[in-house]
Amino acid sequence: MSPAKSPRPGPAAPDDIISVLRDDGSLDPANDPKLTDEEVRHLYRHLVQTRLLDERFVQLQRQGRIGFHVGSLGEEAAILGSAFAMREKDWLFPCYREFGAALMRGLSLQTLCDNMFGNVNDTVKGRQMPCHYTCRAVGWASISSPVGTQITHAVGAAWAAKIRREDSASLVYFGDGATSSSDFHSGLNFAGVFRLPVVFLCRNNGWAISVPVERQTATRTFAEKAVAYGIPGVRVDGNDIFAVVAVTRAAVERGKRGEGPTLIEAITYRMGGHSTSDDPNRYRETQAVEAWAARDPIERVKSYLEKRDAWSDADEARLRSDIEARFREAVLIAEKTPGPPLESLFEDVYARVPWHLAEQRAELVAGPRAPSSHG
């Protein structure tokens, strides 16, 4: 089904791509996660919300109102489907493209917008660029920009749960580029050796900024890398939310049974740029993008619901206007909320402010203000 190319011949690899949602709208019973219509509607609402917010955040960036956005256009099903499969007690270690999943877990839209503006109500106190929010209340780890570093953290958290005999798994998101990192190797290796309940969710979206997958690996698939760690690797249609839910649930169940981690390669496509800072037309042809547009993960869910008479045009209109209204209000509030106070610069470096930071804080507070202070 996939326009993703296998660029060169290689050793035997798991070529099966698990998919559930057929083109005719029916579900393959072999891997059907048996979602209720209400569950599918819940997922659909969040898929649409993610897509709409992505568009709005890009607009805000283009208008110069926020500094940056890194989106998930085209990858929404891989992100939301896997998060949906995780339980409340599980931990999620984001890459930086997964705000839609954080909202679905319970991050408030206001908190997300506060982060986008780096204001005083931002949970990370305006210390990180947009899309680097934190939400401990929903088991959402802190986000860092360096690629792959969160992989070993997910392993450590699952390891701690195992040591404590607690039933908690980790889901860690990363892209195809991260599979080249040392943290990918260390993380999968450690999790394999200690049989830890970790779901390694590789979104193979075709690109690491401008570098295509052929430049990340000589293997034909990313899933086959699992073989080297003695763990299962599965390929799934990342634009099929039913399939993503199913394989992620199976991976969580494996972990719960003490059988260890799973590497999931969710095959999808980054329909936009890497972030608001690049223009993908400089490094890729538009044909591939058009081919993937025909496999849009959100449209597929919509037509599934419509065929079941479980979604109407009125539902659609209501959903979109509701999202737009909530977004407008959250942005209005976030934008007029002041920036963090000067003193906050020195807090949380250590649990208590040590002498040298107290000195520097006094120096900053007493000194002249920066000419273009964002506050």
Partner: protein, 324 residues
């Protein structure tokens, strides 16, 4: 009270910490069955089991990255990096993740781990078993950096480091692992972090040292005394955040400063120490401060005793600063 060496007292500290707090786990290369290449973790796996004293795969970034994840979950990992020379694969995890986790999450999380690692030369270890890289960690906001010089401090500082809320890099001067012996109380006690120790009071010149070089500084001070120069020797113990008051008060009394460290001179911790003192006690200084350090070369094998700032190099520095 028993007369023990630093290997034994650090082992004792780990045992005390693990008995007192179920959250404490030890992980690293060879720390389990064999008890560490320096035997610092000997016997811990027998007492606490393989789940709390963990032989890991050979991957420093994997060890530290996993430990960060454990800490987020609520476990308290004490990591061993076999030699400080091997810590660099984990440097990204330490600098970008461990040190910044509290700050970048707005205080929602903290990644509390202690990284123990042997440092320093004079053991015929050559370039990759001898370096003393404290400056690369002191300059990282969010980290605390500790280095004991004797068994009593080693136990008390390690227990304090484990209980401190912030991540700590705990350097263990391997040249004196077994050579430094002392009385160490049984059971639980701490030596507070951020407190330097005036180990030799003196009037004429302040000598700052830490780790294995403390003994070289003391030896030089004793020899200087024979020539009529009375040096005050301060063991910094916590390198960062520094006990700046003890240091500056001393220099205000003596008016003269010598700083000793094994690491290369340029942009070494000595540069920061001299600056801090100069900023705070400039009008008390009677002479230009002097650094006695390793050279700005890679750590050598055959010539390591020439490289190290041993007593024979510290003594003339003390005398010249005192008489300037």
């Amino acid at each position: 009270m028993a007369l023990v060496n630093m290997v034994q007292s650090i082992n004792d500290a780990l045992r005390v910490a693990m008995r007192a707090d179920q959250r404490v786990v030890v992980l690293g290369e060879d720390v389990g069955k064999v008890g560490g290449v320096f035997r610092v973790t000997a016997g811990l796996q027998e007492e606490f089991g393989e789940e709390r004293v963990i032989d890991t795969p050979l991957s420093e970034n994997g060890i530290v990255g996993s430990a960060v994840g454990m800490a987020l979950y609520g476990i308290l990992p004490v990591v061993e990096i076999q030699f400080a020379d091997f810590i660099w694969p984990a440097y990204d995890q330490i600098v970008n993740e461990l040190a910044k986790y509290r700050y970048r999450s707005g205080g929602e999380y903290s990644a509390k781990i202690v990284i123990r690692t042997p440092v320093g030369g004079g053991i015929r270890g050559g370039h990759y078993h001898s370096q003393h890289p404290e400056a690369a960690f002191i300059g990282v906001p969010g980290l605390k950096v500790v280095i004991p010089s004797n068994p009593y401090d080693a136990k008390g500082l390690l227990l304090a480091s484990i209980r401190d809320p912030d991540p700590v890099i705990f350097f263990e001067p391997k040249r004196i692992y077994r050579a430094a012996k002392g009385e160490v109380p049984d059971g639980d006690y701490v030596v507070p972090l951020e407190s330097a120790n005036v180990v030799r009071a003196g009037r004429h010149v302040t000598v700052l040292a830490y780790g294995a070089m403390l003994y070289e500084a003391l030896d030089a001070a004793n020899k200087a005394a024979e020539k009529g120069v009375d040096a005050e020797v301060i063991d910094l113990r916590t390198l960062w955040p520094l006990d700046v008051n003890t240091v500056v008060d001393s220099v205000k009394r003596t008016g003269r400063l010598v700083v000793v460290h094994e690491a290369p001179r340029t942009a070494g911790f000595g540069a920061e120490l001299v600056t801090l003192v100069t900023e705070r006690a400039f009008f008390h200084l009677e002479a230009a401060p002097v650094r006695v350090t390793g050279f700005d070369t890679p750590f050598p094998y055959a010539l390591e005793m020439e490289y190290l700032p041993l007593s024979h190099r510290i003594l003339p520095a003390i005398l010249s600063v005192a008489r300037a």
